[in-house]
């Protein structure tokens, strides 16, 4: 029997991918570099700040062997500024700029959650990353409750924007989705996909009738193409 999962990634899968993001930790004890499949990690010497993948950082944090240094954008003042921007403009706020580097980097592994991350932009994995950090390392994040509240506001504002964007699809126009995070894509996928699909069906019916009308008027059978499209749809 086929697995009845919706298309795309499920939220736990997105969160799993997010665990490859790098965060900065302040180790509380020594640890030699580990030879891992994803490459060797940096040796940990307290109190030097060290970038580690999120999953390892969370593991060490849960065992009380390290403190996680929250990324600069996860502070009340930065989130406040981003929220202001989100509520005042119809577009999504900008993504962090790509780091200047000679080696090519791909979005899931940008250093966008380390201590050097820009404070004024939400990275691709902002929602799941902040949720994980707030869950596991809320004592390392200054005024965690305020941050939680701001994150919820941000999420609501952005989801509302995403849904509002769907309205313009009806006119056959496109929605600009720059700056939408991974979890938002995964959440919105079912809804937006459904809307687009429904619109396409409605549009297809109208298209067929238009073409039939054209065919009747012109007398030439261009309906074959329409039939083909029909076949593909159902």
């Amino acid at each position: 029997m086929a697995l009845t999962l919706p298309p795309g990634l499920t939220p736990p899968e997105v969160a799993f991918l997010c665990e490859m993001e790098l965060v900065t930790v302040i180790p509380r004890q020594r640890l030699e570099g580990l030879q891992l499949l994803g490459g060797p990690t940096v040796p940990l010497i307290p109190p030097h700040r060290t970038p580690l993948p999120l999953w390892l950082a969370l593991l060490l944090k849960r065992q009380n062997r390290a403190n996680i240094f929250p990324p600069p954008w996860l502070s009340p003042s930065s989130l406040d500024a981003i929220l202001q921007l989100e509520t005042s403009s119809p577009e999504f706020s900008d993504t962090p700029p790509l780091p200047r580097s000679t080696t090519p980097v791909s979005p899931p592994f940008l250093p966008s959650a380390t201590a050097d991350a820009p404070p004024d932009a939400l990275p691709y994995h902002w929602l799941e990353l902040s949720t994980l950090l707030l869950e596991a390392a809320s004592d390392d994040i200054p005024s965690a409750d305020h941050v939680r509240r701001l994150l919820r506001d941000l999420r609501e504002v952005r989801m509302a924007k995403l849904r509002a964007g769907v309205e313009v699809l009806e006119g056959g126009r496109e929605v600009k989705m720059n700056g939408v995070g991974a979890m938002e894509v995964s959440e919105g996928r079912a809804f937006i996909g459904g809307v687009v699909d429904g619109l396409r069906k409605l549009g297809a019916g109208r298209e067929i009738s238009r073409r039939e009308r054209e065919g009747e008027e012109g007398g030439l059978g261009t309906g074959g193409e329409g039939d083909n499209e029909d076949d593909m749809e159902y």
């Binding site: 302040i26 509380r28 004890q29 020594r30 307290p46 030097h48 700040r49 062997r65 200047r100």
Partner: protein, 835 residues
């Protein structure tokens, strides 16, 4: 302490109800206002009838006066200005919808702060009532207002039980501090008081607490001394004497108490019922108060003669637990050596009045020839011109610490010297301070009056265990490393100075030791390395002990007085004051020696410091190179220090050019902690702080950047323009790092990893040059000569990089350059360019 029995006669001034009074700043007039529609103005020194002003509102709730006007506020919400020359109504200053609760005039008499039952405080310019500053963000109505003696801040006692301090120097008053949990939540019309009142020295204020005591709080929010156990009832009002030497309080237990600020003891008690407001005469021994029956008491010769002399004193300091101005312990340096230096925290200075007497008389009038009264004992009877260029008795000035005697009146010249300090320590703030703060951990101490408690915490919690002990010796310096902690305490009357070392791990039952220094010797700085303990003393001795307390060496330092020391393994670095330079300050000299080999590496060499710059910290990097951080924010490292005469100070980082400061919005300074792993570790201090404080601050790290050119502006659209300068800077930096490592490898039995690190760094420098060549080739044909020079700088042991350089030139089609590079490669190969 005396309970005074002689009573003065009350004068019926107003009917029953809240009554208020104030003196004019010159002390000539006393103004009272109460619940009837008469305001009375009494002249000091005359016992006659007061001048009455009938043209006023009823139910007055506040009064404030300057020398020529006074203002009253009333329950109907109006604030009125009256003239003191004509005793007539002058104008309405403002009107609020709810009753006025307090008025305050700024010390210069220009601004009137108005608190009413509204949630807004208005600060109105008396000369132009349209010029209004508003404080709008109060959660509940304010009850009391108090202007800072400099006029730059306003303390607001709010009905929500918090004291808010607003900075009012800007158009938009900004909240600078909030102190919760000291005062009670009182309604605005409550007879009890929650007034925060600034001490005249401006560094602290006093608040009445629910426990019927008065607590002094310094501006940084620390609890200082308290006036305890005087009253049996709730405090109704309080006031500092004009010079801050005494505090007067009255309470519902029918008593007025006079406290001495210095000892926080009651020095006089007066029994009067229902005192709700009082005022000190600004100069004389007169005290006036009003009762809730509306009676006014003017009490001449209020203080007994032995207490009255307290009034004659000059401005007295606020009761601090550890007065930051009178102490020079730890890292705190006195800046009084040659005149007073302005610190960034000073309130804005008052400018001299144009055409004032001093201006007309010229500077001679302040000279010593007409100073026929010599201020021999600092009692303040000779009228010295203070730092604002005004004669004294100007209570608007901040207190500046115990003034060195005859500072301005004597012509004796003294060089300004570098004060001794302990790297990594902070001065007292409240009752806490850090004794040592480094990458291993931190040592802090808490003053418990009779003893201190010392806590040592580590960053590495697995390797070390935090510990804590009670310290009867009052240690004031400490050093911490991975092997142990070193403490030292100053000498007391019965005990000489002592050094105490406590190793972190032992295999015998006890390994800590104490050594007492010879009598009369004080410790000026200590340092601890992996193998030695260094103690510098006030008699200019450098004492070196082993880690087990065995004295190895004692010698007298050539440059004196001593400043500080640092050590790393067998090397010790000592700093001292050398000869006096042209700018009137001593130059700072350093010596480095190897204790084990008994070798002097650098002897009395000069620390390269610009004029008027202080050393903020000295330490060794984790690679063992001496580093120095100065007060201009530059981090220096000593290069080639193992060879005598070769050492030089190289700037590694200028914190003023950091990118995070580029916007000019942030005002922050950096407190150096360490140089490790090719990074500068520091603590970021915001808001004009000079030292880190509790809770434990986070360490930040910055990459080095040698100041080569003006900080390259980041231009994201065209990264190529900034690449050249960036590469050039990293070339200088990597060459420096390479030479430091070369020195280290040559001087020690270098491990294999160090040697491979060395060759890796050599290749890195060459790679940087190759990138630089790439940039030069891209720039164009005309940069060919510079490109060739870049290539000739390559060390290139293998010859491969020169080959690569030729290819780079070929790729850009610079054939001439390519030929020249291959020529160079050939000469190198033949070993012909050795000169």
């Amino acid at each position: 302490m005396t309970s005074v029995t002689q009573r003065v006669r009350g004068r019926p001034a107003h009917p029953n109800g809240p009554t208020f009074l104030t003196y004019t700043p010159d002390g000539t007039k006393l103004i009272t206002a109460g619940s009837n529609n008469v305001i009375r103005v009494y002249s000091t020194g005359s016992d006659g009838e007061p001048t009455n002003i009938d043209d006023c509102q009823e139910n007055n709730t506040a009064v404030a006066a300057s020398n020529d006007i006074f203002i009253t506020g009333s329950e109907d919400g109006s604030v009125t200005v009256y003239s003191l020359e004509t005793y007539l109504y002058e104008r309405l200053l403002t009107r609020c919808t709810l009753p006025i609760r307090d008025l305050a005039l700024s010390p210069d008499g220009i601004w009137a702060a108005v608190a009413s039952d509204e949630l807004e405080i208005k600060i109105i310019d008396i000369r132009d009532m349209n010029n209004v500053l508003r404080i709008r963000d109060l959660p509940k109505p304010p009850k009391h207002l108090s202007f800072h003696p400099s006029g730059s801040h306003l303390a607001v006692s709010c009905t929500d039980g918090a004291v808010y301090i607003y900075s009012i120097t800007t158009e938009d008053p900004a909240l600078s501090n909030k102190f919760d949990g000291y005062i009670r939540r009182l309604e605005t019309d409550d007879e009890r008081s929650s007034k925060a009142i600034w001490h005249p020295d401006g560094r602290a204020f006093a608040v009445p607490m629910a426990t019927r005591d008065v607590q002094v709080i310094s501006r940084d929010g620390e609890k200082q001394r308290a006036f305890l156990g005087g009253h049996m009832g709730d405090i109704t009002t309080l006031a500092w004497s004009p010079n801050g030497a005494m505090l007067a309080t009255s309470a519902s237990d029918r008593k007025i108490l006079i406290w001495e600020t210095k000892t926080q003891k009651v020095i006089a008690r007066y029994d009067y019922t229902g005192v709700i407001n009082f005022a000190w005469h600004p100069r004389d021994n007169i005290f006036s108060f009003v009762t809730s029956e509306g009676e006014l008491f003017i009490y001449p010769n209020f203080l007994s003669p032995d207490n009255a002399q307290l009034l004659q004193k000059s401005l007295q300091p606020a009761p601090f637990i550890h007065d930051p101005l009178s102490e020079t312990s730890g890292n705190a340096r006195k800046t009084l050596t040659n005149g007073l230096k302005r610190t960034p925290n000073d309130p804005p200075k008052r400018q001299g009045t144009p055409n004032s007497l001093d201006d007309i008389l010229g500077p001679e009038s302040a000279g010593e020839e007409d100073d026929f009264v010599e201020d021999d004992d600092g009692a303040g009877y000779s009228d010295e011109v203070n730092r604002y260029g005004k004669r004294s008795y100007d209570l608007l000035n901040d207190y500046e610490g115990p003034v060195p005697k005859r500072r301005a009146t004597q012509q004796s010249w003294e060089p300004s010297i570098h004060e001794s300090f302990q790297p990594g320590s902070t001065p007292w703030r409240g009752n806490r301070r850090y004794l040592c703060l480094n990458l291993t951990g931190f040592v802090w101490t808490v003053d418990q009056d009779t003893h201190h408690t010392v806590t040592v915490e580590f960053y590495d919690r697995e390797f070390h265990r935090d510990f804590h002990f009670t310290d009867p010796y009052l240690y004031d310096k400490a050093c911490l490393n991975e092997h142990g902690t070193l403490f030292s305490c100053p000498p007391t009357t019965e005990n000489p100075a002592m050094v105490f070392y406590r190793p972190h791990e032992t295999w015998t039952s006890r390994a800590d030791w104490r050594t007492q220094l010879p009598a009369g010797e004080d410790v000026t700085a200590i340092s601890l390395s992996d193998s030695y303990v260094v103690v510098m003393t006030s008699t200019n001795y450098v004492r070196i002990f082993t880690l087990f307390g065995l004295p190895v060496k004692v010698y007298r330092q050539k440059s004196s007085p001593t400043v500080t020391c640092a050590s790393w393994r067998d090397y010790i670095l000592t700093l001292g004051n050398g000869p006096v330079g042209g700018d009137g300050s001593t130059s700072l000299l350093y010596s480095i020696e190897n204790v084990k080999r008994d070798e002097v590496c650098q002897s009395e060499d000069v620390v390269a410091l610009p004029d008027n710059t202080q050393v903020q910290s000295v330490f060794f990097s984790d690679q063992g190179d001496p580093c120095l951080y100065d007060s201009t924010g530059v981090l220096l490292i000593l290069q080639h220090w193992r060879t005598p005469g070769q050492a030089r100070w190289v700037p590694l980082l200028d914190t003023k050019t950091l990118e995070r400061l580029a916007g000019g919005r942030k005002e922050e300074s950096y407190w150096p902690v360490a140089v490790a792993q090719d990074k500068f570790h520091c603590i970021i201090l915001k808001g004009g702080d000079q030292y880190p404080y509790f809770p434990k601050p986070l360490l930040s790290e910055f990459d080095f950047r040698i100041p080569c050119t003006t900080a390259a502006t980041e231009d994201p659209s065209n990264p190529a323009t900034s690449e050249g300068p960036r590469l050039e800077e990293s070339f200088v930096r990597s060459s420096l790092m390479l030479s430091l490592l070369e020195d280290l490898v040559q001087a020690t039995n270098a491990s294999h990893s160090q040697k491979s690190e060395l060759s890796r760094r050599e290749v890195d420098v060459d790679k940087l040059l190759l990138q630089l060549l790439n940039v030069e080739c891209r720039e164009g044909e005309e940069r060919g000569m510079k490109a060739l020079e870049v290539v000739s700088l390559m060390r290139d042991r293998s010859g491969k990089l020169l080959e690569a350089a030729g290819k780079v030139a070929g790729r850009y089609g610079r054939t001439v350059l390519q030929d020249k590079i291959s020529e160079l490669a050939e000469t190198r190969l033949m070993g012909m360019d050795e000169d």
